[in-house]
Amino acid sequence: MSLLHYVILTPFIFALTVPFLRTYLRNIHTGWFVIFVPLVLFIYFASHLTLDIGSTPIQHTIPWIEKLDIHFTVYMDGLGLLFSLIITGIGTLVVLYSIYYMSKERESLHTFYIYLLMFMGAMLGVVLSDNLMVLYVFWELTSVSSFLLIAYWFQRQNPRYGAQKSMLITVTGGFFMLLGFLFLYTMTGTFSIREIIDSAGQISTHPLFIPTILLILLGAFTKSAQFPFHIWLPDAMEAPTPISAYLHSATMVKAGVYLVARLTPLFGGTMEWFWIITVVGIITLFWGSFMAIRQPDLKALLAFSTVSQLGLIMSLLGIGSLALHPDQSMNAMLFAGASLAAIFHLFNHSMFKGCLFMVIGILDHETGTRDVRRLGGLMSIMPISFTLSIIGGFSMAGLPPFSGFLSKEMFFTGVLTAYRTLESWVILLPLAAWIASIFTFVYSMILIFETFTGPLHLERLDKKPQEPPYGMLLPPTILASIVVIVFFFPNLLSYTILEPALRSVLPPAMLGLENGFEVNITAWHGWNTELFMTLGVILFGILLYKSLRHWKGIYEWISPKLSLNHLYDRLLEGGENGAYRITNLHMTGFLRDYLAYIFATVIIIAGGSLVWQNLLTLDTSQNAPISIYEYVLSSLLVITALFVVISNSRLFSIIAVGAVGYMISLFFVIFRAPDLALTQLVVETITTSLFLLCFYFLPKLRKEVERVRLRIGNLLIALGVGGTLTAIGLAAQGHRLFEPISYYFEESYTLAGAMNMVNAILVDFRAFDTMLEIVVLFIAGAGVYTLIKLRQSGRDAK
């Protein structure tokens, strides 16, 4: 166990102590204890910033399930460190924020913080594991803790719905990702990401290569809410706002991004990888930004905005992966720029989106609503919140002087690069990106101005609004200041975080570089296309924002029945109904049907095997001779048995079955089995008398008024079963391959002191069978007793 292992496990271990905090220190908000966990971890991770983490990653292994090649290997390189910092840093701020947001009187805080810590540990595990299986373990844990956190207010309907939705979608992705990992294992023989990446060259021709990409991306896309799997994210906003800020914008949804970035060295050089990720990313970007505008609920707006921004990051990663493509080696640095933009924007997004969520949380907390139609004019009452939202919102819209501007410019560069180096129709990419940016601008403006400017309608609010306590304002303020600082000093990040992280996404060795990248981010690049695009965004954005009322009607064109949400609901409902129908179709509760299925299976499988293997043989050479009276007896046997079928008389059927039994015992006599004959006789008698005893009360056997079809069906099944079993029997007895072991029992007198071999077998050679047989008999007897008496005594008691 290395320190890093402990770092990952710390939140889990601490989570175990939370219930005790709740019990013994009720008066102090649990958050004050919990906050130390992310804080200390943040400091730990921050201390690694000074090291040259990019070139010498930290790696430690402890074995877990060695047989499956699953080792708990922690691995921290630039990418991992970047994520760890975000997780613990924002984690600290979120816990601080939650101390004010979550009331210690009303809420069950211990569960909240247990889930939160569990999530934190799981997320650290995801970004710091080198072993795919361990990564998967933590991946699913994040889904589980997200599920629990979304349904934190489980009494209400909507959180439960959202939780179920998010779990179903992310776990689905997770399962298929697991399959992808297993494919990877089959191709490379290892679960270690390092080792897999080292063997990257060999697997690209493997037939499983493309399926693997698809499966793994399915996991990443569901987790990162990419189109069309994004539908869970808006519903996840039912979680408490600190959770939305933390899980559903800053960290968990970035796990998919992390995975894509992490595996870029492996899959990056292929066109499939590039196209899938870029196209899905751009569609998500476009659709998310488009849908965000129509949302009246501010959190839903932010959710769609998150979706769209995640699409942006995703598409950048897709474009950046082209750097590894063998045909694009001369443009490698250009594409690398896109990857850098992805990482940079990922960082920025966490900052400004976290800030915005917290501001919305404040609004919600102070006014009691987040409905944009009820809010307005809060500028004068909540100036600090207003300022914070301007910083966050402008950064989101990509305006200077905020960090979002820088990464947005780099994004434009990225899509333009893709267009310039690939075919001409790829112009669609920058075009879609540009339009999406306009939408982004619009919803950012809605977010800021619809809430803070305009007329104030106090009567529409549940509470009288005021600035929240400073503790609540502190976390967003910190985030907002980072947003501003990064704009002016972007290169603070360049060497410490971005460059090492980029090394993990695009290993310099793979690009043929010796010393890695020179990362230098500047705000001013001259009057280039990107700048004009930004200007265009602002221009059209303002136009669209001002004319919002006039064109908002187009959302009405989109029928809710066509929406993905509707599809999801229909899928669940229809699936359940369909399943019910299918189940009812065959699970009729009617014994006859069940038996018919069973017999049909016997006929198909056993009979099929007979026919298929051509075993319908008849070998009468070893047969013993038959005498006339045996024919007579057999035909009598069959006739008597047939009469059971025909008869309508209860008593007669019973007697006929008894007669069948007696004739069987006669056959036992003929076939030299005296013990059997004796037993069969007595047993048959007792059975028959039991039949008579029990069925005195029963009504007359009705003529079976079955439909003819059913009867023919029964007949066919019966003939099939009989035929199959007879055929196997004939095949088997014409096919005696070995001498039976029974010669041994002929020595029964010397071995067991018994002249009667059958009895010797029963009480000595196989006495165990007999012992159990009487146990069976005894249980049956006792069972009969309970069957009859238990109800009786119940009646007597009444």
Binding site: M133, F154, Q155, V171, L591, A606, I728, F738
Partner: protein, 493 residues
């Protein structure tokens, strides 16, 4: 010779039978039952240790040498199953103390339970085909009695179907034994293996093996599962739990035993059929599981799904997948017992098994709720719980053997399983608390001890999988090398 091998059969048998002599002294019965099972557990653990050290343990009953008398063979596989079965039945027994009414207790619930365990343990241990049949019958008739014990309408109705189907299955078993005896002329499994290997399992034997597959499939609810959902809904919860945990597993055990020891020569026929049956089982079971809003039904269909999954692992005839199937088998016994116990407690608290009428139980019963959540995740194979390792190994085997479609089916069905059990959790435990503590039909007490034992095992098996894997590996070693088993049977005096 090692007489210890017979004790897992003897102890439940003796304690079960002896309880018939003091019918009205329920407290004494409980003590005897618990002690009997504890002793069984102890013996099983000792057996595990002995086998780990000295290899397969064999007992020739009555001192009659191998193919002629009955042989009990305890290899690691059997010993692991014995241990798990003892733990599981102990947990169910403890739960039964709280959940069984006095009338049922007086009418021999515990003795029958012990005899059921005797049958199950015997089926794991026996090395003789016909003796396996007899043990099946011990187990089955005990299950019939337990199923009908109490004589409520639904119990009677479902027991009829259950018995009818099982008698047909038993008779098919006898017929299959007859065929096999005609061709091969022996009953001892090791001897069968030798003889079948000698002639290389021709078409007739393959056909007979398919008949065996169907017979065991009926018991294991492999595709022929129609009897299961109804009949498992009928009995009291503790009994349903022990049924769910043990009965189908005996069928699976038999499939594994027969198709690794005897009929392993033509996997392209037998095992392929097995895999497709398994796939059908998984699909139909999962469909049934998501179809219902009835706690019992959902859980019952889940039993079916996991059977399909395990048999898929067996059918791959791949050592790793087999270890996975074994591991998953152990996991499933524990998890199924736990989830049935919890489901039973849920139903007894709410007084109904209609999920639409249950809501918000977690506020008064947090332990119940969280145990349920845990086991639900374990069932779906969410790491790091016990279901994960087995699942991964089976899937990996499937990938290596290129049964991609079945692999995808099993993934989808495990999603459906997750959906179905989460449906119970979300609707039953979350939501508005509609019952106040006074209105609840029962306190739900009595789940804590068995529940936490089983839950601890689920976590331990998941996190400590490496430790358990040592034993599973040993078990699989015998399964993939039938000669180890055969040698043990024939060389030990």
């Amino acid at each position: 010779m090692n007489n210890l091998v017979v004790f897992p059969i003897l102890l439940p048998l003796l304690s079960g039978i002896s309880m018939f002599f003091f019918r009205d002294r329920i407290r004494l019965q409980r003590k005897v039952a618990v002690n009997g099972l504890l002793a069984t557990l102890a013996v099983s653990l000792i057996l595990v240790g002995m086998i780990a050290q000295n290899g397969v343990q064999v007992l020739h009953i009555g001192g009659w040498e191998a193919p002629f008398g009955i042989t009990l063979v305890a290899d690691m596989f059997a010993a692991l199953l014995l241990t798990t079965a003892s733990i599981v039945s102990l947990a169910c027994l403890i739960y039964a103390f709280h959940s069984t009414d006095e009338a049922r207790e007086k009418f021999y619930t515990y003795p029958f339970l012990m005899l059921l365990v005797c049958g199950v343990n015997g089926s794991f241990l026996t090395g003789d085909l016909f003796n396996l049949f007899v043990f099946y019958e011990v187990m089955l008739i005990a299950s019939y009695v337990l199923l009908s014990l109490g004589g409520s309408k639904i119990q009677l109705r479902e027991t009829i179907k259950y018995i009818a189907i099982n008698i047909v299955a038993s008779m098919l078993f006898v017929i299959a034994i007859a065929y096999l005896y005609a061709v091969v002329g022996t009953l001892n499994m090791a001897h069968l293996s030798e003889r079948v290997a000698e002639i290389g399992q021709d078409g007739v034997i393959t056909t007979i093996s398919l008949l065996f597959l169907l017979v065991f499939g009926l018991k294991a609810s492999l595709f022929l599962y129609f009897w299961l959902p109804g009949s498992y809904s009928a009995p009291p919860p503790a009994i349903a739990a022990i049924f769910a945990a043990l009965l189908t597993k005996v069928g699976i055990y038999s499939i594994i035993r027969m198709f690794t020891l005897v009929f392993y020569h033509h996997p392209e026929v037998t095992h392929t059929i097995m895999i497709w049956l398994a796939a059908l089982t998984m699909i139909l079971g999962a469909i049934g599981a998501i179809a219902h809003w009835d706690v019992k039904k959902i859980l019952n269909y889940n039993v079916i799904v996991s059977v399909g999954f395990i048999v898929f692992g067996i059918g791959l005839s791949h050592a790793d997948a087999l270890s996975g199937a074994l591991f998953y088998l152990l996991h499933d016994m524990i998890a199924k017992a736990l989830i049935f116990i919890l489901g039973g407690a849920m139903i007894s608290i709410a007084g109904t098994h209609n999920l639409r009428e249950i809501s918000g139980l977690i506020s008064h019963h947090p332990a119940l709720g969280w145990l349920f959540f845990l086991v639900a995740l374990a069932l779906a194979g969410i790491p790091p719980l016990s279901g994960f390792v087995g699942k991964v190994m089976i899937l990996q085997g499937g990938v290596e053997k290129q049964f991609y479609s079945v692999v995808v089916i099993s993934l989808i069905t495990s999603l459906m399983v997750l959906y179905s059990v989460m449906k119970i959790f979300i609707n039953g435990f979350w939501g508005e608390t509609i019952l106040s503590e006074e209105e609840e039909k029962s306190t739900g007490r009595g789940i804590l001890i068995p529940g936490s034992i089983l839950a601890a095992l689920i976590i331990l098996l998941g996190i400590g999988a490496d430790w358990a894997m040592v034993y599973v590996e040993q078990a699989v070693e015998v399964l993939v090398n039938p000669s180890i088993y055969i040698n043990a049977v024939f060389t030990q005096p």
